[in-house]
Symmetry: C2
Subunit: 218 residues, 2 copies
């Protein structure tokens, strides 16, 4: 039901601290000292998306931020386990991730997503879901050569042998972002430098207050 | 990519606070002083699910908790906008909400969901998705008479006129929980008493530290 709570429905107990009206995103952001936003990491397999997202998560966590990473590990076998790799399913995969990122962002979290997301149109659809400024496209720009040398899961080798059809970069296209908010040259910069670049962007653009890290807890 | 970060990839800058390994749910929970969990509100239309979830959200927010409500307002027109009301779509609706609640819970949030979710099997499927103790079923128990008198959206009137097919409680079944963790008699208790009952459950069962509210922020 969505009937508005009337005055006489307010809790009167001293154990309950009543907030005047529903909690808004603005409330959450004031309380946390940072904005909610989605940092959408996109790039080839092996470019470093998940590694960099996890490293940024750790740095933001140490500053006391509410931060969460969505990646293949927690989405592909859960929410999107009914989806395959057809073009329609790939698009639906990205759409759902975008909707979930939007919810986390509304909850005031710095939300980091790490998916190849090779199609520009799919990424732009996610951007369009969100209010202006909530979607920060992070292009993890790493040459195919370097990704293929790294090949952390042996996927490029399989793709070269034709064992994986439509593998991004080999037998399927990767559409680089036209105007991403951030470009990380992950084949030239060390991860710590990439994380610094990300933090600097968040500070400079008012997502995060500059200055000392907050003690994160016990 | 999921290659493990090697030692020499650790950021060396003094601006970056490095966490040894990825941030775990346990880290988040220690830092926040409360556990992540899903409180799954179920009950008839008009029983008070959303109102009580929003009131609990406000109380938990004032205590400094990370808390978020998933309900029709932010899910039906977003993540689940491709779903209708067929039996298969209703089941998929609940499955996806369950998967999203699981992600929020993993992020350390107290996650409140407010959906009629009339089928026992669907709710049990969500429970089965999560580790033991993460899923708290909250039965908002309100007689059909009272719900129909409240009728905040005029839906019961429409359903009685036959304008809404398969309306829960009128022309479609509501399967009450067999052994919910919490029963809220929302037709007998005021909302503040229901919220106290919920907070007490969370404290008694170790989801939330008992005691004074934390200053939530500026």
């Amino acid at each position: 039901m969505t009937s508005s709570r009337s005055e006489d429905m307010k809790p009167k107990s001293r154990n309950i601290f009543w907030h005047d009206g529903d909690i808004t995103r603005n409330d959450r952001e004031r309380a946390r000292g940072h904005r909610g936003a989605t940092l959408w990491f996109t790039g080839l397999s092996g470019s470093g998306k998940s590694t960099l997202a996890r490293a940024l998560e750790a740095a933001l966590y140490e500053r006391g931020c509410v931060v969460y990473v969505l990646d293949g590990d927690n989405v592909r076998h859960g929410l999107n386990r009914d989806l395959g790799f057809s073009p329609a399913d790939r698009t639906e995969n990205i759409r759902r991730i975008g909707e979930v990122a939007k919810l986390f962002t509304d909850a005031g979290a710095l939300t980091l997503t790490a998916f190849i997301s090779p199609y520009r149109e799919d990424r732009e659809s996610v951007r369009a879901l969100m209010p202006e400024g909530d979607f920060i496209e992070v292009y993890v720009d790493c040459s195919l050569d370097v990704c293929e040398q790294r090949d952390p899961k042996g996927l490029y080798k399989k793709a070269r042998r034709g064992e994986i059809p439509e593998f991004t970069g080999i037998s399927a296209p990767y559409e680089a972002p036209a105007s991403p908010e951030i470009v990380l040259r992950s084949d030239a910069l060390a991860p710590d430098a990439c994380v610094e670049q990300l933090i600097q962007y968040l500070e400079t653009n008012g997502y995060l207050s500059a200055g000392a890290a907050v003690e994160a807890g016990a």
